[in-house]
């Protein structure tokens, strides 16, 4: 916004997300205990770990759905939720936070489609309401996005008339409608029947191939191995192990990673 956009030291132009010692507590419970990681532009970054390890919380911190208590979190070189002037941090106004969220798409475990709108209205909503795109244009674009996720024929259906897998694909189209530079996936297939998981993963695979930067919290080790560029194993609010998915999944160095993988693979 202003000239003094904070460029953190040591961050190249290719870092889409950069976390430095990120802490987050809910009351007395410390969920994130110092996360350091870097997501490069254009890569698929997978977060795995047992439930309660803080991976979803970390994901939600990236678009400021959760406020971090300590550390620094940058998206595309800009501080998340704050502005730094000198040594001082200033909280961003709600409208400024909203402005930044436009560029970050998010897909939720429970889809969170708007149930009172049809599939295509769900996809049109944000471009029309936030960006001020004309309805006709938004409808045309939304139609193409639904086609891309294989649901062109479901445009007029309400979410309750769609299967879980179809709902999740609409949710992906909805996030894509804002032309995000970063997509966050919070266990996108965990609430789906097993036979519906494949369709959603196919859409995500296509998206990865198109060069989208993606941060994916997942339990789908096959997807992580095949599509992921980097992988982080989190446990107890810290990053236990990171590296290329193939390395970490086939040859885990840390004992906790080994015991987790032996249970899920």
């Amino acid at each position: 916004m202003t000239a003094e956009t904070t460029e953190p030291a040591g961050t190249g132009p290719t870092a889409m997300v950069k976390a430095e010692g990120v802490h987050k507590s809910f009351g007395p419970v410390e969920v994130l205990k110092g996360i350091d990681l870097e997501v490069r532009s254009g890569e698929v970054f997978c977060l795995i770990g047992p439930s309660g390890s803080g991976k979803s919380t970390f994901l939600r911190c990236i678009n400021h759905l959760e406020k971090i208590n300590a550390g620094r979190l940058y998206v595309d070189g800009e501080l998340v939720g704050y502005r730094q002037k000198g040594d001082r941090l200033y909280e961003l106004k709600d409208s400024e936070v909203a402005l930044k969220r436009r560029d970050i798409g998010m897909v939720f475990q429970r889809f969170n489609l708007f149930p009172h709108m049809t599939a295509i209205e769900n996809v049109m909503e944000a471009p029309v309401q936030v960006k001020g795109v004309s309805k006709a244009e938004a409808r045309e674009r939304a139609g193409r996005l639904l086609e891309r996720v294989g649901l062109a024929d479901k445009a007029g259906n309400y979410p309750s008339q769609l299967s879980g897998g179809q709902q999740q694909r609409v949710a992906i189209a909805r996030a894509l409608a804002m032309d995000p530079k970063l997509m966050l996936f919070d266990e996108p297939t965990s609430a789906l029947d097993p036979e519906l998981v494949g369709d959603v993963l196919d859409v995500m695979r296509d998206l990865a191939e198109s060069g989208m930067t993606m941060v994916v919290v997942t339990h789908e080790m096959g997807f992580a191995r095949e599509v992921g560029d980097s992988l982080v194993f989190m446990d107890g609010g810290v990053v236990v192990e990171s590296g290329s998915p193939r390395e970490v999944l086939t040859n885990p160095q840390h004992e906790r990673t080994q015991s987790f993988l032996s249970k899920v693979l």
């Binding site: 678009n63 759905l65 709600d94 409208s95 909203a98 402005l99 930044k100 969220r101 436009r102 970050i104 798409g105 998010m106 939720f108 429970r110 969170n112 489609l113 708007f114 149930p115 009172h116 709108m117 049809t118 909503e125 944000a126 309401q129 936030v130 309400y158 979410p159 309750s160 008339q161 949710a171 909805r174 996030a175 804002m178």
Partner: protein, 312 residues
Amino acid sequence: MTVDIDKTDRPDAAPPAGPEAIKAVPVRHYGRYVAAVVALAVLASIVYAFAQGKINWQAVPDYFFDDRILKGVGQTLLLTVLSMLIGIVGGILLAVMRLSRNPVTSSIAWFYIWFFRGTPVLVQLVVWFNLGLVFEYINLGPIYKDYWSSFMTPLLTALLGLGLNEAAYMAEICRAGLLSVDEGQTEASHALGMSHSKTLRRIVIPQAMRVIVPPTGNEVINMLKTTSLVSVVQFYELFRYAQDIGQTSGAPVEMYFLAAAWYLILTSVLSVGQYYVERYYARGSSRQLPPTPWQKVRANLTSFSNRKGAAA
């Protein structure tokens, strides 16, 4: 699956040659017969009693469309609509105040609701009516200044009494509605970059309406009946006109019957309206909405003609 479709498509088709249907003697519920006889007897005695009373039934149709009665109906409807408008706008405002993170506004809203729900509406009306005894003028600085008596007309008294009281009830209904919307909806909307107010207007309120509309319909119907109380603050509406006519025409009880009949007609019309408004806000919530009575009638007619066609 296929069997089901067969059934709905051709209700006249002979049942498939399956196992033989059970024919058994049903259980006799003698208690039900007794209860029905007792209830009918009580009903008959009430009807008999009224038939014995010296009631001039002819007075009811005679005055049913009397100019004063029609004017009263109009005033009753006007008062209902205006009071509900005050109630709904005030209720939304109070609900948002109550849910806000600002402790001052939320406490004030809490106090308002506590006060106006905790005192009878008749008492509130009479208080508004008698404020003239303690205030001589109304003085809103440079905007407005007048004698209290010419400012506080019966209409304004009635509107304040009914509307402000209603706002307290509507606030609780709206609050329950807003809280009923899943938090994930707000999150999804925020994640798309929508502002607080847009999220509220486009995402939360439309979904809250499904919870808000049915009790609001009840409130409208209640309000229509409660307007009869404002006769005590000299506002002329259906009940007050009926009362006046009753005193001059010498048929007071008959005029109360007449008023009751009008109230019944109005509330019945409102109930039908409520049914369709509820249907509208239920869209997207269930896979298939149940048919409206009218659709049922039409469906029955077509299936009936089908059956005839099949028989011929």
